[in-house]
Symmetry: C2
Subunit: 107 residues, 2 copies
Amino acid sequence: MTKTPPYYAVIFTSKHSNVTDGYNEMTQQMETLAKQQKGFLGITSARDHIGITVSYWERLDDITNWKQQSDHFIAQKKGKSTWYDWYDVKICKVERAYNFNAPETTV
Amino acid sequence: MTKTPPYYAVIFTSKHSNVTDGYNEMTQQMETLAKQQKGFLGITSARDHIGITVSYWERLDDITNWKQQSDHFIAQKKGKSTWYDWYDVKICKVERAYNFNAPETTV
């Protein structure tokens, strides 16, 4: 994700319940669906005791559209309260971005 | 983290190198140090194949101050290129936030 700011990010932080049935299939399908959306820029996830998923979007409107579609998708698949003890969503404007890459080592 | 927006977030996404010596001690000390900083609001982390750490701050200036202090701290401890193949930093303004808590189940 090397786009120059400004763009937008959704930070989704969550704690899983004990019910994981169908969860992995749902997230894979959600990710596939997200990538087809207008304004989608990228997505990264990590999970240990909690999960953090950050998706990146060109405009705020793209996030609103995606929220409507993803809420509908999850509702169709299974109640969201089945999979999560809690979750937290933050909608952000990315104002600055920089990165670091270690120099390649030759063997 | 239930503060009403606007406030600021730093999304730190990273890929570890094979060198982990001293890393856990450093992150614990960094977290302790962050919590003592002016404007610090909270921090969450998750790691599997990549790591995502999000820290939250009251103002952009707080992030600038923390960056200067944390760069110095890491430089004192060990070259950052030792621990990371790459990392990516995004400075964001949190514009909206909402959360969900599953209803408590009584047994």
